[in-house]
């Protein structure tokens, strides 16, 4: 029986607006991502998709409720422990890739390794880049790589610390349609090969359609429905 790697229970998150008004963004009764799951989570712009990823990754704390990552209750951890858990258990892929511009492809992976519990391993970093087809671009800086290659570095970096889950926030939003399929293929294939669960947030139905399991945030986020 599969184990949940991400579990949310009674999670609420609201933001205070400049006028003093409070806007609820998340109101989720229960959300579960099983190990090795590959899920596309779609929703309209502003429906709370990114906030949900920030809450899952510990970047943002929920106002109430519980968040478990690989069995660890994130909401009970201090900030440093939460950071360490994020480094060890979660891999993040961003919409803008967010590679560190002053670092080479190899160093971008090594930087991620240096924040995890293990020691930075040059050989493993090179292997990861080779597995996404970049063995010939190890010493290139992001500006010297194509957009597709940058996204590959971002995927390799997300896998640096052998995470349990990869959280990808609109990974295809800033690339053309021709490359979208390549990125989704890369993510799904790599995660399947490495037994890593994948949660991709997207607003594009054609991207969501590529996943065997699709969820709409509006379906289980009462705040989004309420807003909607």
């Amino acid at each position: 029986m599969p184990n949940p790697v991400i579990e949310l229970e009674q999670v609420k998150k609201a933001f205070a607006m400049p006028g003093g008004e409070t806007v609820a963004v998340l109101d989720i009764d229960r959300f579960v991502l099983e190990e090795k799951d590959q899920v596309a989570l779609s929703g309209q712009s502003g429906s709370g998709k990114s906030t949900l990823l920030h809450v899952i990754s510990g970047i943002m704390r929920p106002d109430s409720g519980r968040v478990w990552v690989d069995g660890h209750d994130l909401t009970r951890l201090g900030e440093a422990a939460s950071d360490r858990l994020r480094a060890d258990k979660l891999g993040l892929v961003f919409q803008q890739f967010n590679l560190l511009p002053g670092f080479t492809a190899l160093e971008n992976v090594l930087v991620a390794m240096s924040f995890g519990s293990g020691k930075p391993d040059r050989w493993r970093a090179a292997d990861l880049l080779a597995s996404v087809g970049l063995s010939h671009r190890l010493d290139h800086k992001p500006a010297e790589l194509s957009i597709g290659q940058q996204q590959r570095v971002a995927v390799a970096r997300a896998l640096a610390n052998r995470p349990r889950v990869i959280l990808a926030d609109e990974p295809t939003a800033s690339i053309d349609t021709a490359h979208q399929d390549q990125v989704i293929d890369l993510l799904t294939t790599t995660c399947a090969e490495q037994d890593v669960a994948l949660l991709v947030v997207t607003h594009a139905p054609e991207v969501a359609a590529r996943f065997p399991k699709q969820l709409r945030l509006d379906d289980f986020n009462r705040a989004a429905v309420h807003h909607g």
Binding site: E79, R86, F94, S114
Partner: protein, 463 residues
């Protein structure tokens, strides 16, 4: 990748900004180092003078400080002369033509006359007798610990604290009957490329003055790290025979009545100048230790006795040097300290401006690193390490540059202040303090941008 590696990458990423920050810091540090070293060299030079092997200087009435500056450091304006007769009061019976011991002879171990007023290519010429190098000693000052260490590193013998007899790197001391013999200080010989056997002709009153008869270098002294290194020492008998050096005698005292002062004529047949026509600029006196009394007390008594008379004054070099340090060197040090403090503050502001500027650029990077799992302490440390690397890098370049500046302006300092400054001159205590000081300064300056990085709102920057 270590935090050190990340910080180093950040520096390389902003190479121009980082380079300019380090350069501005390097220039500040260079100025600080040059100022500190020159200040220390001046102080050391004065301290080294206090280690000369005499404890009293007798000269004409006037400023005792000027007497010391002239006689010990070979700088300042020339002073008036004292009579030969007064000099003879310090001599034992055996050294006097009349066979009677001088008034002060009982308190004196060695009395060395010096005559000044001539120059040789920018260096002061001192007329004296063989006792200067045979009877006096030097030491008790010179290089500090760090300087000695550097000295050993480059194979230069350090100046010791115990009094030492003068030694010759080449040749020997002149004999009293070698009227035209001379001895060169180590720096003079090195600067002018002269060696034993070479000839040199001093000039009268200034470098462009009347050219005197040539003297032969009988010896070159080993380095003493004292003002002696910068002196040209000639036999005073030859000195007296030069034009303008004989005191005009009154009509009544004609040449026939004149009494020979030197005990022997020159080996080459020159007749010595009669005693009535002689004067000396100063007498370097080493006092004896009377039974039950230290030499210092004898010197004090002798000084009082001389100063009560009308013939001249006596000054204790150590006392005058101490006054000099209090009056001039300490205020100079304070001024230098003020300048260096201002320079350092400007440098700190430079680091702060640079780090604040780069912190705005780096905010997104910090947010990304935090999202990858970096702790707040990681980003704080990275910014601080970056600042320290810039400070230490800029500081080291500035340190080297400071010494190059000292070496470059060394000849100018020597000419104007009579103090020797080179690439190896140092202010060890202050220079060693500079490193931790720079690190502390860098941390202080980078604290604000480091805290900004520490507080970066990850969610906001990741959108």
């Amino acid at each position: 990748m270590s935090l050190f590696g990340i910080a180093w990458r950040n520096i390389r990423q902003r190479l121009l900004t980082s380079g300019l920050t380090a350069l501005s810091l390097a220039l500040g540090v260079a100025l600080v180092v040059a100022t500190l070293v020159i200040g220390n060299v001046v102080k050391q030079a004065f301290n080294s003078g206090s280690g000369l092997g005499y404890n009293l200087i007798v000269g004409s009435k006037g400023s005792p400080l000027q007497l010391v500056l002239n006689s010990v450091y070979l700088i300042s304006k020339p002073i008036e002369n004292i009579s030969w007769g007064f000099y003879e009061e310090f001599l034992p019976a055996s050294a006097r033509a009349d066979g009677v011991a001088g008034r002060f002879a009982g308190s004196v171990r060695t009395a060395v006359p010096i005559c000044m007023g001539d120059y040789f290519k920018g260096f002061r010429v001192v007329g004296t007798n063989a006792a200067y190098f045979d009877g006096l000693t030097y030491g008790g000052g010179g290089a500090s610990g760090f300087g000695r260490w550097l000295g050993r590193l480059v194979g230069r013998p350090p100046a010791g604290a115990a009094p030492k007899p003068f030694a010759f790197a080449a040749g020997r001391n002149f004999r009293n009957d070698e009227f035209f013999g001379g001895v060169l200080g180590a720096e003079v010989a090195a600067n002018l490329g002269l060696d034993a056997g070479d000839l040199f002709a001093p000039t009268h009153g200034a470098d462009d003055g009347l050219v005197h008869d040539p003297f032969t270098v009988t010896g070159v002294l080993t380095r003493t790290d004292t003002p002696v290194d910068r002196g040209v020492y000639v036999n005073m008998e030859g000195f007296y025979l030069q034009e303008g050096h004989a005191k005009p005698v009154e009509a009544a005292a004609d040449a026939a009545a004149a009494t020979p002062a030197a005990q022997a004529s020159a080996a080459d047949g020159h007749a010595p100048l009669p005693r009535e026509q002689r004067e000396v600029t100063a007498i370097l006196v080493e006092t004896v230790s009377l039974p039950g009394l230290p030499a210092e007390l004898t010197a004090m008594g002798l000084r009082t006795a001389i100063n009560e008379g009308r013939d001249g004054q006596a000054a204790e070099p150590i006392r005058e040097i101490s006054v000099l340090l209090q009056l001039f060197v300490r205020p100079l040090e304070l001024l230098l300290l003020l300048i260096t403090t201002l320079v350092v503050i400007v440098s700190a502001i430079g680091i702060l401006v640079s780090m604040v500027g780069s912190s705005l650029e780096r905010t997104r990077d910090v947010a990304v690193m935090r999202a990858l799992g970096a702790r707040r302490s990681h980003v704080l440390a990275t910014v601080l390490i970056e600042a320290v690397l810039l400070a230490v890098g800029g500081g080291l370049v500035g340190w080297a540059l400071g010494h190059v500046i000292v070496a470059a302006i060394g000849p100018l300092i020597t000419t104007n202040a009579g103090v020797s400054a080179s690439l190896l001159s140092s202010a060890p205590a202050a220079e060693l303090l500079l490193v931790p000081f720079l690190i502390a300064l860098a941390i202080l300056a980078a604290l604000l941008p480091a805290l900004a990085a520490y507080r970066t709102d990850v969610a906001k920057w990741l959108g």
